[in-house]
Symmetry: C2
């Protein structure tokens, strides 16, 4: 147990990914309209028990817990504590604030929740991300290109990049460049939606060695093949392919945990088949 606690996030991720031969991340997003159990923690526990040998990480989205108020926050604390020590937990919180307030958020996710990594929003700039980065053993995934239709409103705007001879670049490409600058401790990753697979290529070129957290396959209908082929690094690793609803709600009956395992297994194996194809390109 001590060995996993002392690992840096990237080591821990590669370790779980290789041990479980998996790029699959299961999003622990309890939705009261879909859950077969009323108790958040009991539901998560059953899902974790059924899938812990099939995933490289778990990603609870904090919103689904906050929607239950303080009792939801407590269920989140218990859920993260329950995840086996060798599997990293990414708190999908999309947090952002200035200086000392960002530090309070970093304490909340890393010290209180005990997450191994967090997602953050870059709109407030480098000094607002710094308090998260200063936890050098933790991972910090910067929102770059999100998987929703409205992402283009800001992220696709053309920006005059003064540093690059006034070449125009899209805002999310600027964010990828900033994330690279912020990566002094090797603990930065990017959130890259699978629904914009063409953009994965551009961003992999800017950040060839960073872990990419890739939501949007499954329920959001992102292209899994592109996500694996373009989102992983040169070794077919460091792409964290997230699925939430497709796994959690594979069945809404009493067999939900077994069905979740089946869905996770199929998805892991399909991803691995695509990784092999990438290797043979």
């Amino acid at each position: 147990m001590v060995q996993f606690l002392a690992m840096k996030f990237l080591e821990k991720l590669l370790n779980s990914s290789r041990t479980n031969n998996s790029l699959l991340c299961v999003g622990l997003d309890p939705d009261p309209r879909l859950m077969p159990l009323a108790d958040l923690f009991a539901f998560n526990k059953a899902i974790i028990d059924a899938t812990a040998d099939l995933v490289c990480a778990y990603k609870p989205n904090v919103a689904f817990y906050e929607a239950f108020g303080s009792s939801g926050w407590e269920a989140l604390e218990r859920t993260i504590a329950y995840v086996p020590t060798n599997i990293p937990v990414i708190a999908d919180a999309k947090r952002n604030d200035i200086g000392n307030t960002a530090l309070a958020y970093a304490r909340a996710v890393f010290d209180k929740l005990g997450a191994d990594a967090v997602t953050v929003n870059p709109y407030l700039g480098g000094d607002a991300v710094r308090p998260f980065l200063d936890y050098e053993e933790k991972g910090v995934f910067v929102l770059c290109r999100t998987s929703n239709p409205g992402a283009a409103d800001l992220q696709s705007l053309l920006v005059a990049d003064e540093r690059e001879g006034k070449q125009q670049r899209r805002l999310f490409e600027i964010v990828a460049g900033l994330a690279k600058q912020w990566n002094e401790s090797g603990n930065v990753g990017l959130v890259m939606g699978a629904t914009y697979s063409a953009d994965l290529t551009a961003i992999r070129q800017i950040c060839p060695d960073m872990p990419f957290l890739i939501p949007g396959v499954g329920a959001q209908a992102g292209d899994l093949a592109s996500a694996v082929r373009l989102g992983t690094d040169a070794n077919g690793e460091l792409g964290i392919i997230n699925s939430s609803r497709q796994v959690l709600y594979a069945s809404r009956g009493p067999d939900f945990a077994k069905a979740a395992r089946g869905a996770a297994l199929r998805l892991r194996d399909e991803i691995n088949r695509l990784r092999v194809m990438k290797g043979s390109f």
Copy 2:
């Protein structure tokens, strides 16, 4: 009591602002290193009791509660419930996520916490802000120009605005334009840091009738005179001038509540003096 519950946010804000003759918002940001009491709720209760007739709003920053884990979240629930019904509460949460997840956040702040307004981050675009906007009786403050040094990393980037004959505009000006589009129900406001007072002018021109939440006076040394003169509307209203540390920690001894009242009173009156000066321009 029913009359305040039925009010839309903007009415409720104008009502409290006029009743208390105040543009002052007190930021309820309990910092364990500075608080004279260990109990979050007891501290907030004392501050609220001492200042409720001097403010137009309260603004708890959610980060400071999350840093205490689920018990902090519970203290936040109790704090918001304790604020007198005629004073609006702005949950400074800077939330952002896609579709159904943003809806979970909206439920958390509006239904569970019972806040009257929330701050949101625009990086994910219009469809990600929509679930908040759909609470038409609630206020939604979009981060536009923040008060930290790193704000320039993204917010000041020059963007080619295709809709305006390719005129270049800074990203935060684009955000202000989007916020104006999103304001179909009259429930949108902007967060405009006081430390960039020159930019207040540009944004007031784009959004003359929106409430501006203006943090950064006091501990962050923003220019109060500019914030009042440039941040308020033509009537010298709709500028919500936030102060946290200057009020909360005016004294760290047993007289902290009395000292907080003194600091709030001085700040309210100074703001009103500056409003009168604006009127006589």
